[in-house]
């Protein structure tokens, strides 16, 4: 198509004062009563380049349901939609820089070509001092398919672990987000 494109609207920081505009009750709990699948907590701490907790960012996640189906019209897989689970969550970090979601473990989803992607959460970080949001992913350490995941495969081996949440008790997975410096989380250009 040779049609002239309209110019994209630039991104600007969410700033320090979003808390009265964006968070809403229940925003970090993705589960309604009858959601299918394993109930889990996904949590972590966000730190900056000085190693200090970041108490004023907002994390958003988007994920498939337990069957590996996204609640979206472009997911045409023959898998069930779950009326108790839509897959979007939002959480502002607390004063210790902690975020915490109550969700279900997603199923595996298709990747490019005939590949399969290991279960993961698509994750955005918005904050003061961030003129545009950062994109990352949260994977789960107890998924054997991580070894064959095509997106993890794009990442230098030494850094892959930054996207893999550790199982810290039977139903809790922890992945810290390091914005800068030692152990810096992998972020994507998308």
């Amino acid at each position: 198509m040779s049609k002239t494109r309209l110019g994209q609207t630039p991104s600007q920081t969410v700033g320090p004062f979003f808390h009265f505009g964006l968070p809403y009750e229940g925003d970090s709990n993705l589960i309604s009563g009858d959601a299918q699948g394993q109930r889990i907590v996904v949590e972590g701490k966000v730190t900056d380049g000085a190693g200090e907790p970041v108490p004023d960012v907002m994390i958003e996640i988007w994920q498939a349901n337990a069957a590996g189906k996204y609640d979206h019209p472009e997911d045409t897989q023959d898998k069930p939609i779950d009326e108790g689970f839509h897959g979007f969550g939002r959480c502002a970090t607390d004063k210790e820089g902690i975020f915490r979601f109550h969700t279900v473990k997603p199923g595996a989803v298709p990747g490019q070509g005939n590949s399969l992607q290991a279960p993961h959460l698509v994750t955005f970080v918005f904050g003061r001092g961030m003129l545009k949001q950062l994109l990352t992913r949260i994977y789960f350490e107890d998924e054997a398919h991580n070894a064959n995941d095509p997106v993890l495969g794009l990442i230098p081996e030494a850094r892959r672990g930054t996207l893999i949440a550790r199982k810290t008790n039977s139903a809790t997975y922890t992945m810290n987000i390091v914005l800068q410096g030692e152990g810096e989380t992998v972020f994507f250009e998308y």
């Binding site: 609207t9 991104s11 979003f18 808390h19 009265f20 003129l131 949001q133």
Partner: protein
């Protein structure tokens, strides 16, 4: 399952870098490692579909959320949510938040010694209609000081958060007002590399949407990334 149709990539000159030292807070929050280029998969081209959250008419009128009328200049902000191909983005959630006419947010951490307005909270939400139109009524926010550098002031702005047809369309931006003398001094506005692209964040005064003896109209169209085909055409 058919291959997904990728979205256009970021327009580099129109989008800010993560590190922009004149905006001090970027210095410890910008990644130092190179970003990994992510192909668009089903995970990226899907996203939350609105309809779940309930949006009420009062959410679109920030002047009617309390017993009395807020102080300040009443305005109507409207526009269209489009993609780069000029296609309307319908059923999209638009969230807005702002300070009051005196330049003060209700946020507990805002220490600017300007008055709070008991009749103004400053948060609203609307969903775009089938043609991508949105509209809300508010009051014109004031400029306010911040501590980025000596005598730093933010130009008056309304924060916008948008959900498009996919999660990677997610956009958070700020809408400014035409002719603001503070643009030249604001590192957040100046953080956009292309001077012409910065102007896409500036609303325009619009007599057609101005309501006689009631409120001034401002127009602000927002453009999200597009793609070269739609799933229906594919």
């Amino acid at each position: 399952m058919a291959d997904v149709i990728p979205y256009n990539r970021e327009e580099k000159s129109a989008q800010p870098p993560s590190l922009y030292p004149p905006y001090n807070s970027t210095v410890l929050r910008a990644p130092k490692q190179p970003l990994v280029i992510l192909p668009h998969t089903l995970s990226e081209v899907t996203g939350p579909v609105y309809g779940h959250g309930k949006v009420l008419p009062v959410d679109a009128d920030l002047t009617k959320q309390h017993a009395g009328e807020p102080l300040g200049e009443r305005i109507i902000v409207s526009g269209r949510l489009l993609d780069e191909n000029g296609r309307a983005v319908p059923n999209a959630l638009v969230e807005v938040w702002q300070c009051n006419a005196a330049g003060r947010y209700i946020h507990a951490r805002d220490q600017h010694p300007a008055p709070l307005d008991p009749n103004f909270s400053g948060a609203g939400r609307v969903v775009t209609d089938a043609q991508g139109n949105y509209k809300f009524t508010t009051i014109k926010p004031g400029a306010y000081p911040w501590r980025n550098h000596p005598n730093a002031w933010r130009p008056a702005h309304i924060h916008f958060s948008l959900f498009g047809p996919s999660f990677i369309n997610r956009l958070v931006t700020q809408m400014y007002f035409p002719g603001d003398p503070l643009f030249a001094f604001d590192p957040i506005y100046q953080g956009i590399p292309d001077v012409k692209a910065r102007e896409r964040m500036v609303s325009r005064f619009d007599m057609d949407s101005t309501i006689p003896e009631w409120a001034l109209g401002y127009k602000f169209d927002i453009v999200l990334r597009g793609r070269d085909a739609t799933p229906m055409e594919h």
